[in-house]
Point group: C2
């Protein structure tokens, strides 16, 4: 008998029919003898509908505190409905709001962080044999006891936080895909389904554009060593287990885990920057003061003749205009020649714990892209990842080229490849 935390996304509970199906799966898990804690998101487009209403009654941005009061009603509704559907199947369930579940957060409405979880009410309900339901995405701040929301990926994070606090055996994230793949199957049809992925690899994949899991939830799971299982709520397939550290990976495993891609970035190049110490710092200070996060950075070698250089960096495309505006405002202060903004770029990343102890991966990576006629604009690497920026219209081709070059299409060959020490 284990303690299982299950999280169901909005599409899994978008209708009464889907809610009944979810209830059947929950009751089945309970009948297998496990304690079950379930986190449910708001039904389908409830959140959008509530946001529309907020815009209709507001001029300008609504007060964040009230926005949280409004939106959290969505998860209350879906949770209560799932509890009713479970009840109709002859099992007992009790639903709890975020604050009832002991989710204490920081004060920042709309994007609060979990500070502490005090699930004593959940524990006593479990002790009574109840199936426990918790409204995802929400909590209560410590200072004013107001209702807060956790921002993007909030329900995943709620589930992981509860799994950690209750010392659950597994946290199952139910979604509309069969798990994690070696690439997006819509782009690379031969993408392999992955049985297991380490936390580190999943972090890199999520950070590089894989949308199945939210970076924040993976970070939380890694920190508290919570095994995550990503699986579909539409079938019985086992999905993908996210667990373990790259330190524990057997050598026989493939070097490369997968290829991720990201279409959400833009690129800014600042040309003719005086090549003096602290110049880059001055530029990034301007961007940082605009509360914009930078991803990749490239500083070209200085042009010997005029001691000028170019600085290139990528950032979320949505922040592009703001960053450009901020830099133009301080053009004199910085003293650069020209500002070039390009949002026709894409990022492709190769992730694999095995590449640490296998030289030549970078070379092979570059060969694969050049063979495919893809020009690398900027490159950035970590211990287990290589990322490059290319033209956005070449992104799909880049994904397929790398997926093929590293023999991800076929599991066997990939395993053999692990020994070859390229």
């Amino acid at each position: 008998m284990a303690l299982v935390v299950q999280k169901y996304g909005g599409s899994s509970v978008e209708s009464a029919e889907r809610i009944k199906k979810v209830a059947e799966r929950i009751v089945r898990t309970r009948k297998e003898g496990h304690d079950v804690v379930v986190v449910v998101s708001a039904m389908g487009d409830t959140t959008d509908e509530l946001t529309d209403l907020a815009e209709q009654v507001s001029t300008g941005a609504p007060p964040p505190r009230e926005m949280d009061m409004l939106l959290t009603a969505g998860e209350r509704i879906s949770n209560a409905l799932v509890a009713m559907a479970i009840h109709s199947l002859g099992a007992e369930a009790r639903s709890f709001t975020g604050s009832q579940a002991g989710m204490l957060t920081t004060n920042k409405h709309g994007d609060a962080r979990i500070v502490e979880v005090n699930p004593h009410r959940l524990r006593s309900a479990l002790a009574e044999g109840q199936i426990v339901l918790v409204a995802g995405f929400q909590g209560m701040n410590e200072d004013s006891k107001d209702i807060t929301t956790l921002g993007r990926g909030g329900s995943d994070t709620t589930a992981v936080a509860l799994a950690a606090a209750l010392d659950a055996d597994v946290c199952e994230i139910y979604t509309d895909v069969d798990g994690i793949f070696s690439a997006d199957p819509r782009i690379a049809p031969k993408a392999r389904h992955l049985e297991t992925v380490t936390y580190e690899e999943m972090l890199e994949l999520a950070a590089c554009g894989a949308k199945v899991l939210h970076l924040r939830a993976v970070e939380y799971a890694r920190r508290y060593n919570v095994p995550l299982r990503v699986r579909s709520s539409y079938n019985e397939k086992p999905g993908t287990l996210v667990a373990g550290s790259i330190e524990e990976i057997p050598l026989e495993n493939p070097i490369i885990t997968g290829v991720a891609h990201d279409r959400s970035e833009g690129k800014i190049t600042v040309t003719g920057v005086p090549d003096t110490p602290g110049m880059a710092a001055r530029i990034f200070r301007v961007v940082a003061d605009a509360e914009i996060n930078i991803d990749m950075v490239l500083q070209n070698i200085s042009n010997a003749s005029d001691k000028k250089t170019d600085i290139t960096f990528t950032l979320p495309r949505s922040d592009g205009p703001a960053a450009v505006a901020a830099l133009e405002k301080s053009k004199e202060q910085i003293g650069y020649a020209e500002l070039i903004y390009d949002n026709e770029v894409g990022k492709v990343s190769l992730v694999g714990a095995g590449m640490r102890n296998h030289p030549g991966v970078t070379a092979k990576f570059c060969e694969a892209l050049s063979d495919a006629g893809i020009n690398i604009e900027t490159m950035n690497t970590s211990e287990i990842r290589i990322s490059v920026i290319c033209k956005s219209d070449q992104l799909d081709e880049a994904v397929r080229a790398l997926h093929a070059a590293f023999e991800l299409d076929s599991e066997e060959e990939a395993v053999v490849a692990a020994g070859t020490g390229r």
Copy 2:
């Protein structure tokens, strides 16, 4: 500067447009220099929509605890939206759930009673100059800290309870009519608008079918001496003040306040009952055990020859079938001849504090009805009320006849009448 509690019903906040109008009225009241606490019901048909969803996912009745968790989301939504609309008008507002507002209730989900109100969070918000919004109809039970709902008239009761706990100067109940009338204007076109009504009279009117205010909220207001003002959210008319006791009424006031009618009752007659002590008790015990409340009772004089009698009583029409079934089951035990159920009846009531010290009202009442050719089936009186049961198709005519006979059509004459001691 006063403390004003305002309650807006579901129709007053049924759309974004209506919510903005309500916000304007609230801000106007604040700008007049008053502290404002607002109780809002769920938008228009939100409650019906949520109930539909509950039925779609449930076989049989949903668990009451989850039903309360589901329905209370409706008031959270409307409250947050009104707070946003207020914010857009440049004022500051903060919304609170029932439990945040300190509404402690009994455990009975779906029909909880208020046990205690601890509005310390509301007080500090008011002290900060905030407009305070409270989700109506909901609270938290003391034992399990679960969310409860107050049942029918819950939001009116929330408003009155808050007004009492905060020692408000007035509790304004906003609705879609201009206040209390001497009769239902749809039936008696000459009905007079009433400027003031005592608690006792309002209790009798509400108990006899006047639907503007819920009996429960009036009882609460009388107990804590909270002045109620019933008015329309669609205009600026002052509405009707419900306050004061019949003891304080000046003699110049009209004898009669108004005529109420009720179409929701049915009548059961048990014939051929042995006229022995405790027989009536045995019948009413059977009905009480079916958890059915009885309204009016009439026991005919015994038929001397066979020492048998008939017992007639009225009850909510919705409980009719259950009562008949219960009585038929114990026919032998009671030993009656026949059971007659009649749901073609209506109840008309005359209410007025003045009738206490004016003899002849009952005689005039009966004359008026007989002059109109209306047969009285059962009569029942209190110190300030006369009620009779008649055929339902004669009910409207009965209302008009009494309204005319007691000169309610014209305020002046009614005042003169007060002196004539009929």
